[in-house]
Amino acid sequence: MQQFLQQTINGLSIGGVYALIALGYTMVYGIIKLINFAHGEIFMFGAYVGMIAVMNFNIPIYLAFVIAMAVTALFGVIIERVAYKPLRKSSRTAALITAIGVSFLIQNGVLMVMGANIYAFPQVIPNRFFTVFGLRLNMLQLVIFATSIALMIILQFIVSKTKLGRAMRSVAVDKDAAALMGVNVDNVITITFAIGSALAAAAGIMVGLYYIKVFPFMGFTPGLKAFVAAVFGGIGIIPGAMIGGFAIGLIETYVAGYGSTLYKDAVVFIILILILLVKPSGLLGKNVKEKV
């Protein structure tokens, strides 16, 4: 039982990270119906920015979070404006292939600039352990969990309470109608990319802190898993991405803890296929009839 609770804590902390990445996928998908394949690479870019800020400029970690989120948000906006905006009217396959191209470009660009070597993220959060009810709680895990929850609350506030959030929701429902109501659709899409990228950057720093390693291909697997998390909760639905992220984190940790570590990545994709088989619209999704 104690081991189970311990695994649950581990799963929740990594699940929070997946949820943050999944939010970026789901928001972009909800608004322009595009799977942003480059999102995993944006996450990797954020990890690099945070690491450089801490390692080379000795910036305190909380400031590094803010800087990395800002820089990565700008990066996401540039990607959207340059690569995705011209394709808004073309076929979905064309947009998807572009997204793959962007992902490939960022990966190899970082590889060329920073080299293929694996960097160690500076361990700026003291590795202290608390024992509560016989459970070992890691300081780092607590920080990660608290940060991801805080960011999700802020996001939820923006989406449900502000004027911007209302604009975002209206664009997601019907772009043309939103434009007729005076919503600047292009700006809303750009801001969505900025928010999604900022969340991915925060996740990137947390993964860097947690697993220590930072390298050009670090975005691939977490990116895919976060996408599965978004589909699990119902793609396009913000609370769905949060639930999906925690669920995937927990399942993965249980499989690694009780089964085999080797297959923990494979399990996630088997879950994806099962969801698509049983309830393709996801946990919180509704069945929507396609209009002709």
């Binding site: 690569a83 394709l87 073309s90 064309a94 793959i100 996408f227 080797l262 296929i273 393709p280």
Partner: protein, 325 residues
């Protein structure tokens, strides 16, 4: 039944025979040195891969990103069987095993994902490619991360030629068959073709399995050409390389894929020492082509003989004009 010995087919046959003996002569006369010969064989394998992915992406309009996974199934099947039977029978038997496994795996992936509209196939195939890679890494029979080496080298120009021509002809016939036309209509408009009575899921699944099987055959050839198979060879980067061939050659143009496989193979050889620049250039090409020419560089046009022979299919515009007058 159509005339098998039409003028067009005979001319194609003539071109193929000339090409075959020309290259054979160049190999015998050592104009093509063994180093270039290996590259030539690599190009042949990528022609099969490009054409088979084009069936899925260009003809049916479904984005698959797990092509390297199916390639690895074929490669490992051939490698494992050939450890017990290091001869031609072993290679063919391995190919057969790979084909059966690929049919099974692609069927399991295709049924849940292709039932749905939208882009789930891209992610699901990406995931399947990863699952295949993880399974290969952890199985005893595949020898984990170090892979299988010392596979007998059975590849020769006639063998490769036969497989490449067979793959391209099969794919062309697929495209021109009733199934192929159904697939093209799904690409153009899924809802409309459903309304016309086309069983969209069925045809999408058929096209996907067809592509996966060809990829697996290409994988078997790969194993015997390079005598080493490793899990890392069949990662996402390989799938993207094949995608670049398809995009470059034009979505839906099988001959375009073949030409672009040759072109990219030669460029790769020339730029071998600039790997990073090459990959960045390819990524940029992918983005720029999609923005300015989303149908691919050569579109869906086939490089055919029709123009040379003066045969023109009646254009839609002309037909409409005739109808209205």
């Amino acid at each position: 039944m159509k005339n098998l010995f039409s003028k067009k087919n005979l001319i194609w046959l003539g071109i193929l025979i000339v090409l075959f003996f020309l290259v054979q002569f160049m190999i015998d006369a050592r104009i093509i040195i063994p180093y270039h010969r290996t590259i030539l064989f690599g190009i042949g394998i990528f022609i099969i891969l490009g054409v088979s992915l084009n069936i899925i992406i260009g003809i049916t309009g479904q984005l698959s990103l797990g092509h390297a996974g199916f390639m690895s199934i074929g490669a490992y099947s051939a490698a494992i069987v050939m450890q017990y039977m290091p001869d031609m029978t072993g290679l063919l038997l391995g190919m057969l095993v790979g084909t059966l496994v690929s049919i099974l795996v692609s069927f399991v992936v295709a049924i849940p994902t292709l039932r749905l509209k939208g882009d789930y196939l891209a992610i699901a195939t990406l995931g399947v490619g990863e699952i295949i890679r993880i399974v290969i890494l952890n199985l005893e029979i595949t020898n984990g991360a170090s892979g299988i080496s010392n596979i007998k080298n059975l590849i020769s120009w006639p063998l490769l030629f036969v497989f490449v021509v067979a793959a391209v002809v099969l794919s062309a016939n697929f495209k021109n068959s009733a199934i192929g036309r159904a697939c093209i209509s799904i690409k153009e408009d899924e809802i409309a073709s459903e309304a016309m009575g086309i069983h969209t899921t069925k045809y999408k699944v058929i096209a996907f399995i067809f592509g996966a099987v060809l990829a697996s055959v290409a994988g078997s050839l790969y194993a015997t050409t390079y005598y080493v198979v490793k899990p890392e060879t069949f990662g996402i980067a390989t799938s993207i390389n094949i995608l670049i061939i398809v995009v470059f050659g034009g979505m839906g143009s099988l001959t375009g894929s073949a030409v672009s496989a040759v072109f990219i193979g030669i460029v790769n050889m020339l730029l071998q020492s600039y790997a990073e620049v090459r990959l960045i250039t390819y990524a940029l090409v992918l983005i720029v082509v999609m923005i300015f020419r989303p149908q691919g560089l050569f579109g869906s046009k086939e490089f055919g003989l029709d123009k040379i022979l003066g045969f023109k299919p009646p254009s839609l515009k002309k037909l409409r004009k005739e109808e209205s007058t």
